[in-house]
């Protein structure tokens, strides 16, 4: 009885899950089923199959391609590969392939083709023992008795695999863009507005009851997201290192489908005016900017002096006054600080938090969700 091992497919799947957290066990099972159904007869087709099932955007497609190619054993010759895939296609309990032993290679491996084996695998993987010396069975999908048997390949070490073609040198954002988009989606206030295009059945029936007959149907406007959203972004100077997160956040906003979304920029403190563009050229008075957002969510993104690391009482006062001005207009106001929370101490930001005047949140997933809760009015 051969020991269960991580196969290249499982390795690739585990690696892909780190980059694409959405993947579930059904995605691995689907690839196996695809192999069994003969959808991948060579290396590039296998890559395509994994891409189609696991990736849902061009960027994810590139990642999946790199991961699978780096995990596939290095040049296997055509006939052996075709044979292995042929073995995967055979149903269980069929007799072993008569050409199964290739070049007199020892230990025969069992390759199940049913999805059930995939489900019990996570448990079996826990009972794994460490790698024995070469040659070891390589193409293993787990064990069930009476499966089709095929010759094993020599084990390939990951160090011998071809290099990945793309390296992420920039690093990851504190909040994944998908998570940002999904968080902003919850910032909805559904209500009926616009042209009356929907039939209001209840009101129509009430009208019939009142009048005694139907003369005209009663219409109502459709439901939509009524939220308008104002984002005030601190830029340049101490905010320069955070522009990637801020850009990702601003990119995530339109996907939430607001009826009106406005972005304005300022530097350090908006003293009475903000700017319509990120380069700080076109001025707009702060009052005029806040005017249409009475009762609507307003989000401020600024480090509040935390990046500088000192406490500046003047800046603290002005920031508090600025936020108070917003809160007069609307109670749904939140402040996001891209500097990590453990760096706030002894800075202006800490002073502001201590004074209780501003409910400042750090720019990580929990902080983002809390700010959105504030913006929803909870």
């Amino acid at each position: 009885m051969s020991h269960p091992r991580q196969t290249f497919l499982q390795d690739a799947y585990t690696e892909a899950r780190k980059e694409i957290p959405r993947l579930g066990i059904e995605d691995l099972i689907a690839v196996r089923r695809g192999l069994a159904d003969g959808l991948a007869k060579d290396r590039s087709q296998l890559v395509r199959l994994c891409q189609a099932i696991w990736a849902k955007s061009p960027a994810e497609q590139d990642s999946v391609k790199d991961i699978v190619e780096s995990r596939l054993p290095t040049p296997i010759d055509g006939p052996t590969l075709a044979q292995l895939f042929a073995a995967a296609q055979r149903p269980p309990d069929s007799p072993p392939d008569p050409t199964g032993t290739v070049a007199g290679n020892p230990p025969i491996t069992e390759i199940p083709t049913t999805p059930e084996s995939g489900e019990s695998e996570p448990q079996r993987r826990n009972a794994e023992t460490p790698a024995p010396p070469a040659p070891v069975p390589f193409m293993e999908y787990g064990e069930t008795s009476g499966q089709a048997k095929v010759a094993a390949l020599p084990r390939v070490r990951l160090a011998d695999s071809p290099h990945r073609t793309h390296y992420d040198l920039v690093g990851t954002l504190p909040v994944a863009p998908r998570a940002m988009r999904q968080a902003f989606r919850t910032l909805r206030r559904m209500g009926r507005s616009g042209l009356a295009t929907e039939l209001d059945i209840g009101a129509t029936i009430a009208r019939i009851v009142r009048i005694g007959r139907l003369d005209a149907p009663v219409m109502r406007p459709p439901r939509r997201n009524l939220n308008q959203f104002l984002v005030l972004v601190d830029t340049l100077g101490s905010m320069a290192p955070f522009h990637r997160e801020i850009d990702a956040l601003l990119d995530a906003l339109p996907s939430a489908g607001f009826t009106g979304m406005v972005r304005r920029w300022f530097h350090d403190i908006p003293l009475g005016h903000v700017y319509k563009d990120a380069a700080l050229r076109e001025i707009e008075p702060l009052d005029a900017c806040l005017e249409p957002f009475s009762g609507q969510p307003v989000l401020v993104i600024s480090d509040a002096g935390a990046a500088r690391g000192n406490t500046d009482p003047a800046r603290a006062r002005q920031s508090a006054a600025f936020f108070a001005k917003i809160k007069i207009k609307t109670p749904l106001a939140a402040w996001l600080n891209p500097v990590p929370q453990d760096r706030w101490s002894h800075s202006t930001a800490a002073a502001l938090v201590r004074s209780g005047k501003i409910a400042m949140q750090p720019l990580d997933l929990a902080g983002l969700k809390r700010s959105i809760e504030i913006l929803r009015g909870r």
Binding site: R22, G24, E26, D27, A30, R33, G34, D37, G38, L39, Q45, R48, L49, Q51, A52, I53, A55, K56, S57, P58, Q61, R178, R181, Q182, R185, T197, L199, I201, T204, I208, R213, L214, P217, P222, S255, G257
Partner: protein
């Protein structure tokens, strides 16, 4: 197991039709057929997402249903709609039909595809246009290929109704081939994405562009050198970049049709010419600012 296979070569049982798919797309379609999952197709505008489903239906000679999603679409409408207003009016007139639900029942594209006796092809176009909950409302139907008409009371169904194929619950006998397109304007929910296979249609290479144009020209055989020159000029123009809307496949086809109609000679599409001197070049663009930027680019350009 499903034995249908798509080849994407544009051959059909009913005569040639203008759609060619590249090998990756063909593989993706066949994966979707075998695995019985919907295929989510994304790509730049004008790359042929919407016409894919029709081409599959024509090549495999299957019934074709299409559902063009609007911002006001509800998932329910794709399954079925009940004409409640007419039923109300009929009941006032004393029409006996109004007692029953069936006469007012209309099935939408997805409902028809799931009711179909044979395999069929369903297109759900621009799913990201609808409300954010729309894809989630379709999960059960896409997963288990079944739906229920809640308003029907089983005791009301007569033998005639049953003979005509009306039921309370429908389950697809054979899984339809579902192609879903998205313009990537809104993020689609994870639960929905997991049920779909995904393919991104890249902008075609110049050779494929020439093939696509040759098939699509509405008049008879267009001059091959003319097509090749037009494709090359288009690729150059696209390389300039910075457009609000880049000229894509459909604009190229329109342009070649115009050039062919007016008998433009291939010498008028020489590489040395400024883009702004090419005949009918404005037909490639949909925004005034793009036209202006080409005009400016041309006048200041030194080759």
């Amino acid at each position: 197991m499903n034995t249908l296979r798509y080849s994407g070569t544009g051959d059909t049982k009913s005569g040639n039709h203008p759609y060619r798919a590249d090998p990756d797309l063909v593989a993706a379609v066949n994966m979707a057929i075998v695995l019985q999952r919907p295929l989510l197709v994304k790509g730049p505008p004008g790359c042929g997402k919407t016409r894919l489903a029709e081409s599959i239906a024509q090549e495999l000679d299957l019934p074709y249903f299409e559902w063009f999603v609007k911002s006001t679409s509800r998932a329910q409408d794709g399954l079925y709609t009940l004409d409640t207003l007419r039923r109300l009016l009929d009941s006032q007139m004393g029409n006996a039909d109004a007692r029953r639900v069936i006469p007012y029942l209309r099935f939408g594209a997805l409902g028809e595809a799931l009711r179909s006796e044979t395999e069929s092809v369903l297109l759900i176009d621009e799913i990201d246009k609808a409300d954010l909950d729309f894809p989630n409302d379709l999960l059960r139907e896409l997963d288990r290929k079944e739906f229920t008409v809640e308003e029907i009371d089983e005791s009301q169904l007569t033998a005639d109704d049953l003979a005509n194929g009306f039921r309370r619950s429908y389950r697809a006998r054979v899984s339809p081939i579902i192609v879903i397109t998205s313009n990537d304007e809104k993020e689609l929910p994870d639960a929905f994405l997991r049920r779909c296979l995904f393919h991104y249609i890249d902008f075609p290479s110049p050779d494929r562009l020439a093939e696509i144009v040759a098939i699509n020209c509405t008049t008879d055989q267009v001059d091959k050198p003319l097509v090749a020159a037009a494709v090359d000029r288009l690729v150059e123009i696209r390389a300039i970049g910075g457009f609000r809307k880049e000229p894509a496949t459909s604009e190229l086809i329109d342009w070649v049709n115009i050039l062919h109609h007016w008998g433009i000679d291939v010498s008028q599409l020489e590489p040395q010419l400024d883009h702004a001197d090419l005949p009918f070049w404005r037909s490639l663009f949909k925004h005034q600012q793009d036209i202006q930027s080409i005009a400016r680019h041309g006048s200041g350009d030194s080759r």
